[in-house]
C-alpha cells in the first residue's frame, strides 16, 4: 500500500566521514569523495546506478562559489542531473527532503544527497552570517547564532539553579553519547560530578551560554542515497523509510506585522503539524529515538519540550530523570548531537543518517539496545528554520 501520495522512498546508502577539526589532509572534493565512496559501498551500487545528485553547503563558509560544480571531481555527478541546495543550518536535511521529493515524485529512481562543510576553513562563521544580514535594517544589529535568549527564558521559567543544572546535564549526557561514537568530533569524557565545576568555570560566551554548552565547528561530509520503494527493496536488505517531513521557519525580524501569530516556536509548529497529519498522538510513546539538531545545550532542553509537545516542566523533568538517555523513554542523540559534531551542512543530514543506522542496527558502539522502529530527526538553521522528519523501519504505518 502506497503511503505517500505517489510512491514510497527508502534510504539505501549512508556514508559519512569522521568529523574533526583537522582535515588539512583533504581538500573539499576529497573529503566529499570519502563520504560518497562510503555511501556507494554501503548501498552496494556503483555511480552509474545514481540518477541525480543534490549537493549542499553554506558556501559562505568555504568561500567558493558554485561549489557543486567545483566539487564535481569528488561528487561523482559527472554527466548526471543535479542541483545545489543551500538553506543555512538546515541544508543537510533539506537535501534529504529534496531527494525524497525527487524520488517520490517519480522524477528519479535513485538520488544521492551530499552535505558538507569545512568550518576550519571559514575565518569566522558568525562574521559571515552577520556580514550577510540585511544591510539596511539588521547588518549592524544582529549577532549571528550566539545568543543566551534560550538560557534566559529557561532561567526565568524554572529558576536559575534548576535550569542551569538541566542544561549541563543535557550537555554531559551528549558528551557521554559522543564518547561512544567513533565518528564524533568532540569527546571530552565528561562525568556528571563535573556539573558544578563546568557551570562555574566553563568560559562564558554570552550570559549563561558558556563555551561547553555550544556546538562545535567541525569539518565533515555526509552522503545519503535514496531510492524508490521498488528499487530500494531490490538493492537494499535493510532500507529505512522516509515517512514524512516538514519545514517551518519564522522570519522573526522580517516584519512586526507577523508578530501576533508567532506565539509558538517553529519547533512546536513543525511537531504539531507533522504528528497531527500522521496520527501520532503521543510522540514520547511512539518514537524509539530522536536525533535533534541541538546547537547548544540550552536550546536542546528548550526544544525537547516543543518537539514532543510537552508542557511546563515535563521535558526538564525528563532530563532530570534520565528519560532522554540511551536506555531512557526516548533516547535523544545517541550520536552525541551537535554540541559534539557540527560540520554544519552535513549536521542536519547526520540526524536522519544516525536514525537510519540505529534502525538497521549498524550504529556501532552507540547502538541502542532497544529495537528502533520509529525515529524522529530534526534540523535547525537561521530564521528559526526547523526541519522535522519521521523515519520508519517498516512500511506499515
Amino acid at each position: 500500500m502506497t503511503k505517500k501520495k505517489n510512491r514510497n522512498v527508502g534510504i539505501i546508502g549512508i556514508g559519512m566521514t569522521e568529523i574533526s577539526s583537522h582535515k588539512e589532509n583533504q581538500n573539499q572534493p576529497e573529503m566529499i569523495n570519502e563520504a560518497v565512496r562510503a555511501a556507494i559501498a554501503d548501498a552496494g551500487i556503483t555511480l552509474s546506478d545514481i540518477d541525480c545528485v543534490v549537493h549542499g553547503n553554506m558556501e559562505l563558509f568555504e568561500m567558493i562559489h558554485q561549489p557543486d560544480l567545483w566539487h564535481m571531481i569528488g561528487t561523482g555527478a559527472l554527466g548526471k542531473p543535479g542541483f545545489r541546495i543551500t538553506t543555512g543550518g538546515t541544508t543537510g536535511m533539506t537535501l534529504v527532503a529534496a531527494a525524497d521529493n525527487l524520488v517520490a515524485s517519480g522524477m528519479y529512481d535513485v538520488v544521492m544527497a551530499i552535505g558538507f562543510n569545512k568550518l576550519q576553513e571559514a575565518g569566522s562563521t558568525t562574521g559571515g552570517i552577520t556580514n550577510m544580514a540585511d544591510p539596511l535594517w539588521y547588518r549592524h544589529l544582529q549577532t549571528g547564532a550566539l545568543t543566551s535568549t534560550s538560557a534566559n527564558l529557561s532561567i526565568e521559567e524554572f529558576g536559575e539553579a534548576r535550569a542551569r543544572k538541566a542544561a549541563m546535564k543535557h550537555r554531559i549526557m551528549m558528551d557521554k553519547h559522543a564518547s561512544l561514537n567513533e565518528r564524533a568530533h568532540r569527546r571530552f569524557g565528561l562525568e556528571y560530578d563535573q556539573m558544578e565545576d563546568l557551570m562555574k568555570n566553563s568560559p562564558p560566551l554570552i550570559g549563561e551560554l558558556r563555551l561547553i554548552h555550544m556546538c562545535s565547528q567541525s569539518d565533515g561530509a555526509c552522503v545519503m542515497i535514496l531510492a524508490s520503494e521498488k528499487k530500494a527493496k531490490k538493492i537494499c536488505k535493510k532500507p529505512v523509510w522516509i515517512r514524512d517531513h516538514i519545514a517551518v521557519h519564522r522570519e522573526e525580524t522580517a516584519s512586526n506585522a507577523y508578530f501576533p501569530i508567532l506565539s509558538e516556536t517553529s519547533q512546536r509548529v513543525a511537531a504539531r503539524k507533522l504528528f497531527t497529519r500522521n496520527g501520532i498522538d503521543n510522540p514520547v510513546e511512539y518514537f524509539d529515538v530522536f536525533e535533534m539538531y541541538d546547537p547548544s545545550a540550552w536550546w536542546g532542553i528548550e526544544w525537547l519540550r516543543d518537539f514532543f509537545l510537552l508542557e511546563g516542566d515535563e521535558a526538564i523533568k525528563m532530563v532530570e530523570e534520565g528519560d532522554w538517555d540511551l536506555d531512557g523513554k526516548v533516547p535523544v542523540n545517541p550520536s552525541g548531537g551537535v554540541t559534539a559534531s557540527n560540520p554544519i551542512s552535513a549536521t542536519a543530514m547526520l540526524k536522519p543518517a544516525e536514525v537510519a543506522l540505529q534502525m538497521r542496527g549498524d550504529a556501532g558502539r552507540h547502538q541502542l539496545k532497544r529495537e528502533v522502529r520509529h525515529g524522529l530527526a530534526s534540523g535547525f538553521g537561521g530564521v528559526m528554520w526547523t526541519e522535522l522528519m519521521i523515519l520508519e523501519k517498516d512500511l506499515n504505518w
Binding site: 588539512e24 589532509n25 581538500n27 571531481i73 561523482g76 575565518g123 544591510p135
Partner: protein, 158 residues
C-alpha cells in the same frame, strides 16, 4: 533617444555602502600539497594516473573521478612543456588580477596529460599567440605555495 528612459524620483533614496572582510583559508590536502611541493622544490609538474581507466589528472586527485579508484600514490611526471590548446586575452585591469592587462590565459595540454589545464602565457604579444604552439613552464623565483609557483608558460624557441 530617451524613449526608454525611466523617470523614478530617486531624491533622498539612500544607498547603503557595504564592504565585507571575511578572512578564510583552504586546505590544499595531502595530494594537492605534494603537487605544489614538487613545483616548488623540484620544478617538476606531477600528475596522477588511474591504473584502471588510464586517465591522467593534473592537477592531481586522490580518487579517480570516473571509477573511484584510489590513485593518489600513482604519480607520473609530466613534461614541463606542452601545447597551447586554446587561450583568451585578458583586456581589463583589476586589483585581483595577477598581471597588468593585456595578458594571455591559456589552456595548456602538458606532454603526457590527457586534458589541458589553465595558466598564464607570457613572453609573447597576445596578437602572436596561436593555438597549437608549444609552450614551457617558467617557474617563479619566490614560492607562494600556490599554482603560481609556475610563474607562467613561455613559447618554446624554434
Amino acid at each position: 533617444m530617451n524613449a526608454c528612459r525611466r523617470h523614478e524620483n530617486t531624491q533622498d533614496c539612500f544607498v547603503v555602502p557595504g564592504k565585507m572582510a571575511l578572512p578564510n583559508q583552504y586546505f590544499a590536502g595531502r595530494v594537492g600539497s605534494r603537487f605544489i611541493i614538487s613545483l616548488r622544490d623540484s620544478t617538476k609538474i606531477l600528475g596522477v594516473k588511474c591504473p584502471k581507466c588510464k586517465s591522467v589528472y593534473v592537477p592531481p586527485l586522490e580518487y579517480c573521478e570516473k571509477d573511484m579508484t584510489k590513485i593518489d600514490e600513482n604519480w607520473v611526471e609530466l613534461g614541463n612543456e606542452g601545447v597551447l590548446t586554446n587561450y583568451t586575452v585578458v583586456n581589463y585591469r583589476d586589483a585581483h588580477l595577477p598581471r597588468k592587462a593585456p595578458y594571455i590565459l591559456g589552456m595548456i595540454k602538458l606532454d603526457g596529460a590527457e586534458a589541458p589545464f589553465i595558466h598564464i602565457v607570457a613572453g609573447i604579444e597576445p596578437e602572436n599567440a596561436a593555438i597549437g604552439m608549444r609552450v614551457k613552464a617558467v617557474f617563479s623565483e619566490k614560492t607562494t605555495n600556490t599554482i603560481l609557483d609556475i610563474d607562467h608558460f613561455a613559447p618554446v624557441e624554434g
